[in-house]
């Protein structure tokens, strides 16, 4: 349940940057390979915002697909899990995308 620690960190970072302004919306990018469950982050976020300048803010999560390059044939391999097999049979994959876990933006009033 590392999502609780992640939600706490999101609230801490945004709260700090908002410097007292009321936050209404936070946009988070979560890669499919980031080992983070978006639903769990959403659930924990709602708990963590209580009593902060983010109370009532919505959390929008953008999920980024996983993509790797096969080190054997150079081909692209879409990944839905943190491992996979290239069409050539290769499993030695270099991840290109899908590990993102970042706060893209937030809105204040």
């Amino acid at each position: 349940m590392h999502e609780l620690a992640i939600a706490q960190e999101i609230v801490a970072i945004v709260s700090d940057c908002a410097a007292g302004a009321r936050v209404t919306r936070v946009v988070l990018e979560v890669g499919k390979l980031a080992a983070v469950l978006p639903d769990a982050v959403q659930f924990c976020f709602e708990l963590c915002v209580e009593g902060t300048s983010l109370e009532g803010a919505s959390l929008v999560i953008i999920e980024t697909p996983g993509l790797a390059r096969c080190r054997e044939c150079g081909g692209n391999v879409p990944l839905v899990r943190p491992f996979g097999r290239c069409e050539c049979g290769g499993t030695d994959l270099e991840w290109l995308s899908g590990e993102q876990l970042k706060i893209k933006e937030f809105e204040v009033v």
Binding site: M1, H2, L4, A5, I6, Q8, E9, I10, V11, A12, I13, V14, S15, D16, C17, A18, A21, R22, T24, R25, L28, A35, V36, L47, C48, E50, G51, T52, S53, R81, P82, F83, R85, T91, D92, L101, K102, I103, K104, E105, F106, E107, V108, V109
Partner: protein
Amino acid sequence: MCTTCGCSDHSRPRLTDLETGLIIPLDDHDEHSHAFDHGHDHHGDGHDHSHHHSHQTTKISLETAVLAKNDRLAERNRNWLAGRDILALNLVSSPGAGKTSLLERTISDLAGVLPLSVIEGDQETLNDAERIRATGCRVVQINTGTGCHLDAGMLARSLDQLNPPPGSVVLIENVGNLVCPALFDLGEHAKVVIVSVTEGDDKPLKYPHMFRAGSVVILNKIDLLPYVLFDESRFLDHVRQVNPALRVLRLSAIRGDGLSEWYRWLCTQSTERSRPNSAVPQHEEETESSKSRPTPVRPA
């Protein structure tokens, strides 16, 4: 209880020095990762809205990694360790895979060969730290309370308290959990994943992030192979699918099979990391070909 994060006086993270009995809370609200105003006194009827009811919103671009703070602290730990030639290894597994037994055995077998100290991570109890202390090894305990993993800040505080000597090895026993510790860099040299044959051969596919994050995997309790349903070749195939570079060491911490290879790996990491000419200890299970190695330092 703090309604913001659920932490309470009874479950907050704390560090215990087994030698001095000193207990340090690690979750003071003024240094907590959510150390901002979340006072509990403004939910009453008199909730005073002082802000303007404007519908104008301002969008602020941030593009900040959520774990940036942990990663910064981890980098600081890495530099601190490197500056003292200290090798730090992060031992991760599910509960009951045998991390503490392997530590006990390793400490006793490598006495006089490698200067070791231990940081014990658990949600609750001092049980494992007491077992390590019984071997005579310096140990501090971190209890994470409700937390499911160690983070770089906890390691920093533990290293401060442990004060390991230059050129030594720090073994960090993480909270028994194959999920969350994979995500948090502590600043360690490598993650050592420990799996026991009683857990099933599909663990790499079930918990791929951990096997991807690891540098070496120890397959423990191989003495139980005749009694459990565990297909070793299938396990190795699953390891290769997830992380083709992962090295597998088979051993039984209780019976002693395969420990020499583990000690050799450990000493090699330590030698590369710190001092030259580290002796590589032998073990009863050594093969004939490896018996020409340096004299064992293992106590009788």
